[in-house]
C-alpha cells in the first residue's frame, strides 16, 4: 500500500485525471505532448523522452513533455518551447492564405481537435506569440464558417441530399477535413452535446447544429397544414 503512495505511475495518473476534469474534455488526448527543449541536464529522467538514454540532455530537441507538465517546466525556465508541428509556420501560412483548403482535422492525431489543442498551446505561450496564434485560430475558424454552413445545409441527412452532393468532390473533401469541433462525433447522440454548453464551448459541434436546424426547417417547409 505505501509503495503505491510513492508510485510514479499513480501520481501521473492522478495528474491526468485532474487535468481532464479541469478542461472538461476527456476525449482530448492526453497523449498530446508538447515539444520542448531542455535547458538543463536532468539525470535519471530519460524515460520522459522515451529514449534509451538514462538522462535528459540539455539542448536536446524533441523532448515530448506531457501537457500538464509543460507549464511548470516552461515557467521555471528549465525548458524552452518549440511550436508544435500542427501550428508551425508552414501550417500558419497555409491557413492564412486559404483557410478552406487545409485539412485541419488531419493535422492533430485521430481525434482531430486542432482548435482545442491550439487553444491549449495559446494558454502556454506568452503574450505576443499567444495573440498571434489565437488570431490565426480565430481567423481560420471564421474563414471556414460559410462553407461549413453550406455543407451542413446541403447535407441534411436525407437520401436525396446525399445523392445530390455525392458528385461534389470539393465539398466531400472539405467535409473529410473538418475539425472535431466542427464535425459530429459518431458515437454520440446528436442532441447530446447541446447539453454541455456551460462547460467547454469547444466541445459543441457546429456542424451538427447547423444540420439539425436546417433539417427541421426543411421538414417544416415540406409539411402541409391541409391534413389538420
Amino acid at each position: 500500500m505505501d509503495n503505491e503512495y510513492y508510485s510514479l505511475d499513480a501520481i501521473l495518473a492522478e495528474n491526468q485525471a485532474c487535468f481532464s476534469y479541469y478542461y472538461n474534455s476527456d476525449e482530448l488526448n492526453f497523449i498530446e505532448k508538447i515539444e520542448c527543449t531542455f535547458n538543463i541536464e536532468v539525470p535519471g529522467l530519460g524515460y520522459l523522452d522515451n529514449a534509451a538514454d538514462e538522462h535528459v540532455k540539455a539542448l536536446h530537441r524533441d523532448d515530448q513533455l506531457p501537457y500538464w507538465l509543460a507549464p511548470t517546466m516552461l515557467y521555471t525556465g528549465w525548458a524552452g518551447f518549440n511550436m508544435p508541428r500542427p501550428y508551425n509556420g508552414l501550417v500558419q501560412n497555409a491557413v492564412v492564405a486559404e483557410p478552406r483548403s487545409v485539412k485541419i482535422g488531419a493535422l492533430v492525431g485521430e481525434n482531430g481537435r486542432w482548435y482545442a489543442f491550439g487553444k491549449m498551446v495559446v494558454d502556454l505561450l506568452s503574450d505576443p506569440q499567444a495573440k498571434e496564434l489565437a488570431d490565426i485560430l480565430r481567423q481560420t475558424f471564421k474563414g471556414r464558417l460559410p462553407d461549413l454552413m453550406d455543407q451542413a445545409q446541403h447535407f441534411t441527412g436525407t437520401a436525396s441530399a446525399a445523392a445530390r452532393t455525392s458528385g461534389d468532390d470539393a465539398g466531400a473533401e472539405f467535409r473529410s477535413g473538418l475539425d472535431a469541433t466542427e464535425r459530429e462525433r459518431e458515437n454520440v447522440d446528436p442532441y447530446g452535446h447541446l447539453e454541455g454548453t456551460d462547460g467547454c464551448h469547444l466541445r459543441c459541434s457546429v456542424f451538427v447544429m447547423a444540420q439539425e436546424s436546417a433539417r427541421q426547417v426543411k421538414a417544416w417547409y415540406e409539411s402541409s397544414d391541409k391534413s389538420r
Binding site: K142, P146, C204, D225
Partner: protein, 190 residues
C-alpha cells in the same frame, strides 16, 4: 426539466407557426353569427358578405370547415413579391419583409390557395426570395465577431434556421480569443 435538448434551445418551426396563429387576418365569412367572445378577444359579427377580422388560427379552422374565404394580406401578391425579389437581388442588405412572412405565406398557400391570385407564381417567388435572403445571411457569417453582431430585417424563420449555428460559432470564436493575462498568471502562480 424533461424537455429534450433540441427543444430547450430555441423554438421549433412548428412552434413558430403556432405563435403566428395570433396574427389578425381578414376573412369573408360564409355563415351568419353574432359576436363571439373568446379568451383572446371578441370577434365578429359574422355577416356575409361583410369582412371581419379574426386571428389566423380561427381563420384556418373556419377555412378548413369551408365556412369562410380568407382575404390574403396585401403583400401576398405577385406585384409586391416581384418588387421585393428585385430589391433582394440588387441590394446588399436584406429588404424589409413582414417578420413572420414565411409562416403566414405557408399557412395561406397550404389551406387557402384558392383565395390567392396565382398561387403557383407566388410560391415560386417566395422560394426565390428565401434563397436570395439565405445567400445574404451567409455573408453575415464573414462579419461575425464576438461578442455580438447586428443585422436588420431578419425574419423569424430565418432566425430559427441559423440561431444555434450562429450562437455556437460565436461561442467558439470568443473561446478562441486570448483571455485577460491576469487570470493565466494566477493559475500558474507558485
Amino acid at each position: 426539466m424533461a424537455l429534450p435538448a433540441n427543444l430547450k434551445q430555441a423554438p421549433t418551426p412548428q412552434e413558430l407557426e403556432y405563435i403566428t396563429g395570433e396574427i389578425i387576418v381578414a376573412i369573408e365569412p360564409l355563415f351568419r353569427m353574432e359576436k363571439v367572445r373568446l379568451v383572446s378577444g371578441v370577434y365578429g359579427p359574422f355577416r356575409p358578405p361583410a369582412k371581419t377580422r379574426v386571428p389566423l388560427w380561427l381563420a384556418q379552422s373556419l377555412k378548413l370547415k369551408r365556412k369562410c374565404r380568407i382575404v390574403p394580406p396585401d403583400w401576398v401578391t405577385v406585384d409586391f413579391l416581384t418588387l421585393r425579389l428585385q430589391q433582394e437581388t440588387s441590394q446588399s442588405e436584406l429588404s424589409k419583409m413582414p417578420f413572420r412572412y414565411a409562416e403566414v405565406a405557408k399557412v395561406l398557400l397550404d389551406i387557402a390557395s384558392d383565395d390567392i391570385m396565382e398561387p403557383d407564381k407566388i410560391r415560386i417567388l417566395l422560394k426565390d426570395i428565401r434563397e436570395a435572403r439565405q445567400a445574404k445571411s451567409r455573408q453575415l457569417l464573414l462579419a461575425l465577431d464576438a461578442p455580438y453582431t447586428t443585422t436588420e430585417n431578419l425574419c423569424s424563420m430565418e432566425i430559427c434556421e441559423m440561431r444555434l449555428f450562429f450562437s455556437s460559432a460565436m461561442g467558439i470564436i470568443s473561446k478562441l480569443d486570448v483571455e485577460a493575462p491576469a487570470q493565466d498568471e494566477e493559475m500558474y502562480d507558485f
